[in-house]
Symmetry: C2
Subunit: 325 residues, 2 copies
């Protein structure tokens, strides 16, 4: 499969028009002071289904033949891709089966169920979701929509970068630095493609949870590195075992590097977004903001684009996070 | 002083361009199901300073002579107008003095202080903020910016309605019903003017906390009615003692009626906005959404515009609200 190009992202944007939300670029003087630079937050927590994932699944679904949509689709996902696929399926007249870990946040499970998806549970540490998904796909004749290693999905996620670039240009600005959360790498792959096309000198970074910094380490070694088994993080959306094949083929050419943040840093960023932007951000959605606020990048005085990728967090975890400052 | 007209709101929109955020119209299938209609949420919690109030203070500040701005401005406010005035003053090169109740949410106080405002505290139940503000204004030569009974402020707040009308038209929709939070009535006055001009058949309602439903009762009696002393509500932004003179002169002609909601209803709406929209809404900002979700209006099958007016809420209160469902 050829790697997705800018052109694919532009066509994805056309397909998504009328479906996906053109999410706002938010900013705050107080956040700028904290970060020591000019920050623009691409708020994908305000996207349909509460995360950027809808963009990729919608772009995939729009290109599936009608009969395939009617036969049904299947996805394995920690929750946000699940909701994206479930809602895109409903909008296009199909039904989704979702292979989801038993410990997924209940808001994510409920979101997918609300769109009529059938949930098949699995154990995150002892079962192979990809194997379960592939087997079910063959057994039931369902089209598999992979969460990141899929050119259509990557092109859809790239519309985050395309939109943000246009929004910055509308303000007569260019991004010096951009950073986005990274699990399997689909968001940062598509987004970095679009941003490098708009701003050739921009430095783009991936942000990952500590213990799941496979992309950061792979960028250093030049080959795909896996995460050590047994690592834990509250960033449930970013626990992919290793970079995708397609995503890493892109990211190795577009990214300047990767940074990792602790769960405590992610929670601090969730509080900052609550306090200064009035948005609800889930732990995994907050890691890029966490990297910026935690001083992980050389950004003083620069124009910095930060993707906040999702906001699907259970009320208990959010309340606990607000109370542990 | 002549009442503000549509024309004043359109000119306010021009003045605010580049300062105020064009806040998004958010929606959610799940919320639509809960409400039984097609809901569009004008998310002013994403406005600069975290509430719509910036629009009015900025529109006033932009029309003040430079020398007046340099001499300084003063406002009395429960907190959101304070932050709006403080930030508008800073942006236009002046400094604000704010008369604010001792029990104002600390995020609101900190927000105003962060913009360099001097805070003068007063006791909400035993002191008259208007008298303190007027006295200080005269003593120090400061220009007083009233929170709602001011034509420039009302015209600025009206840009909420102007923008929302344009956003609905971009979707080829017209509002059948619109509802916004109401304290002194500036937001609903300006917004209803703009909405009635765009959609002559729209029914516009004010939403107030129980015990502070002065506008609803005034609309029924045809004259300005005050609130009974001693009433309490967590909706700190909406505790004005009676409708404004200018605001009521508008609202009696533009509003279909007013509804009141309980603190429990407001909290339920805060949780719904957290869950389905990923936005942070303060109690007073949530009363219009609360009215809609609580079945206070006949809206089945209609297109309904709901203004969420602010999101400045202390972390403890928000966490407590998430936990008491």
């Amino acid at each position: 499969m050829p790697l997705p190009q800018l052109d694919d992202i532009e066509r994805a944007a056309d397909r998504l028009a009328g479906y996906a939300v053109r999410t706002p670029l938010l900013r705050s003087d107080a956040l700028d002071q904290l970060a020591g630079c000019q920050l623009f937050i691409k708020a994908e927590c305000l996207q349909r289904t509460g995360s950027f994932k809808f963009r990729g699944s919608c772009n995939h679904m729009a290109q599936l033949p009608t009969e395939k949509v009617r036969q049904g689709v299947i996805a394995y996902s920690s929750g946000n891709h699940a909701q994206g696929v479930a809602q895109a399926a409903r909008l296009f007249g199909g039904q989704a089966t979702i292979v989801m870990p038993h410990d997924a946040p209940s808001v994510k499970r409920q979101g997918a169920e609300g769109d009529g998806a059938e949930i098949v549970g699995y154990h995150r540490n002892s079962e192979d979701r990809e194997a379960i998904g592939t087997a079910l796909s063959e057994e039931r004749g369902l089209s598999l929509i992979r969460p990141y290693d899929d050119a259509w999905v990557i092109a859809g996620q790239g519309t985050v970068g395309l939109e943000a670039a246009r929004q910055l240009r509308d303000l007569s600005l260019a991004a010096d630095v951009a950073i986005a959360p990274c699990g399997g790498g689909g968001l940062i792959a598509g987004t970095s493609l679009a941003l490098k096309a708009a701003f050739p000198d921009v430095d783009v970074f991936s942000a990952e949870p500590e213990g799941f910094d496979d992309t950061a380490r792979s960028l250093v070694s030049g080959q795909r590195e896996g995460n050590r088994p047994g690592a834990q993080s509250i960033c449930d959306a970013l626990l992919a075992p290793e970079p995708g094949e397609i995503t890493f083929a892109i990211n190795r050419t577009t990214l300047t590097g990767g940074v990792a943040v602790s769960d405590a840093d992610a929670r601090e960023a969730m509080r900052a977004a609550f306090r200064h932007l009035n948005i609800v951000v889930e732990p995994g959605g907050a890691v890029a903001l966490a990297a910026v606020l935690g001083g992980k990048l050389e950004i003083r005085g620069k124009t910095v684009l930060v993707v906040v990728s999702g906001g699907n967090v259970d009320a208990d975890l959010f309340a606990e996070t607000l109370r542990t400052s």
